[in-house]
């Protein structure tokens, strides 16, 4: 996933809106995501909202850990009102465990699926544009 120059750059994440109407957020390599970073990420995603809910592609391959509070924030925060679906790329063993844990324990309230490649994820997320 190529990060464009105009991406919102915050601690732990790059976030931007794709020309296909699907937002992207990419975890920076070796990130240990805390509640504060999750909140900032939520703000960054919300700032992309204009008038219509949008799906979001989350590339979690660089993640090292995510605190319980951060996971809870991602499953419950106000982003739900702005986003229509989560597609999470989980290619590495760590991101795979984290993604599955997020799905199984934190139970996001928007449609969420895990993918091991970007193309399949985008294909599925197009249903929610």
């Amino acid at each position: 996933m190529e990060v464009p120059k105009n991406a919102i750059n915050i601690e732990g994440y790059w976030t931007w809106m794709g020309s296909d109407g699907i937002a992207r957020t990419k975890v920076k390599p070796d990130s240990e995501i805390t509640l504060e970073q999750a909140i900032e990420n939520g703000k960054a995603v919300t700032s992309l909202f204009i008038d219509k809910k949008f799906p979001i592609l989350i590339d979690s391959r660089g993640i090292r850990s995510m605190t319980r509070e951060a996971r809870e924030q991602f499953s419950l925060n106000g982003r739900e009102s702005k986003t229509s679906a989560f597609g999470i790329i989980i290619k590495s063993p760590l991101s795979r465990v984290l993604g599955n844990f997020f799905m199984g324990v934190n139970k996001p309230t928007v449609p969420t699926r895990l993918f091991d490649n970007e193309d399949d994820a985008i294909q599925w997320l197009k249903n929610y544009v």
Binding site: R64, S92, F101
Partner: protein, 273 residues
């Protein structure tokens, strides 16, 4: 070969570390964490999963502990409330006592005594509630025995001996909303027997029966006194005591019957949840 051995040793060490953390969870120590390497391999994945599980377990344990603490605090508070209500009622009763010291009018003194008995019957409910195990129910058998003793003392006279006969089923517990009206009604009925049932007799017997059939409770109080006036109707009685019995009976949807049968016979039938 050496390189492979090193990797294998390192894997063993990491697997052991994961096992150690899982064992610490079994000891309810959720602070331990598996260290995650930068390899992002399968063991890192398992380690991250174990770490997240530990966080969830810690959160659940804290939630349970907080809830237990809340229950304990609520129980203390409830106990304190019942204690204070009882104390305040006793203060009111003592104030009436003090007031009565300067009064000579026998009728007025009688009214004060009646009021004190009513207050005491309510205070007794709160006293028994804060001494009870679950703080919400009173043992009706115990209550009746204590209340009859208290009314007996209040009306005791050196020239008259009133005895009680009990046939009370054990294991009936009432919540405060039912217990207060029942206590007050019982107090009125007993007081009436003491005051009016035995004008000339030196000895009298008041019998109390309590039976339960599923949720249906039958409380019968009868004395071997002179009985009621002809055409007695509880609803048309002018005395505050009988008005109270009628009114409190309506409050708990009780059926009350009063009749003269070799004395006065009261029957209160009510249901409990």
């Amino acid at each position: 070969m050496n390189g492979e051995n090193n990797i294998s040793l390192s894997h063993d060490k990491r697997a052991n570390e994961i096992l150690e953390v899982i064992l610490s969870f079994a000891r309810l120590d959720f602070a331990q964490k598996v260290s995650i390497s930068s390899d992002d391999d399968v063991l890192d994945g398992i380690g991250a999963g174990v770490n997240m599980l530990g966080e969830e377990l810690k959160h659940s344990a804290l939630t349970i502990k907080e809830k237990e603490q809340l229950i304990i605090e609520k129980e203390h508070l409830l106990k304190e409330i019942h204690h204070r209500v009882k104390n305040n009622l006793q203060i009111v009763s003592s104030l009436l006592n003090l007031q009565s010291e300067n009064i000579i009018d026998a009728k007025f003194l009688e009214l004060i005594k009646e009021s004190q008995n009513r207050i005491n019957s309510m205070a007794l409910v709160h006293e028994m509630l804060y001494k009870s195990v679950d703080l919400s129910k009173v043992d009706l058998k115990e209550y009746i025995q204590v209340l009859t003793g208290s009314v007996n003392m209040s009306y005791s006279s050196p020239t008259k001996a009133i005895n009680f006969n009990y046939d009370i089923e054990a294991g009936i517990f009432l919540g405060v909303d039912t217990m207060i009206p029942i206590g007050l009604m019982l107090n009125e009925i007993l007081s009436n027997s003491f005051k009016y049932a035995f004008p000339d007799k030196q000895n009298g017997i008041i019998s109390i029966k309590l039976k339960r059939d599923k949720n249906n409770i039958d409380l019968i109080v009868f004395d071997n006194g002179i009985g009621l006036k002809k055409n007695f109707d509880i609803k048309k009685q002018g005395s505050l005591g009988m008005q109270l019995v009628h009114m409190l009976g309506e409050q708990i949807d009780a059926k009350i019957s009063v009749k003269s049968e070799e004395g006065t016979h009261y029957e209160i039938n009510f249901t409990i949840q």
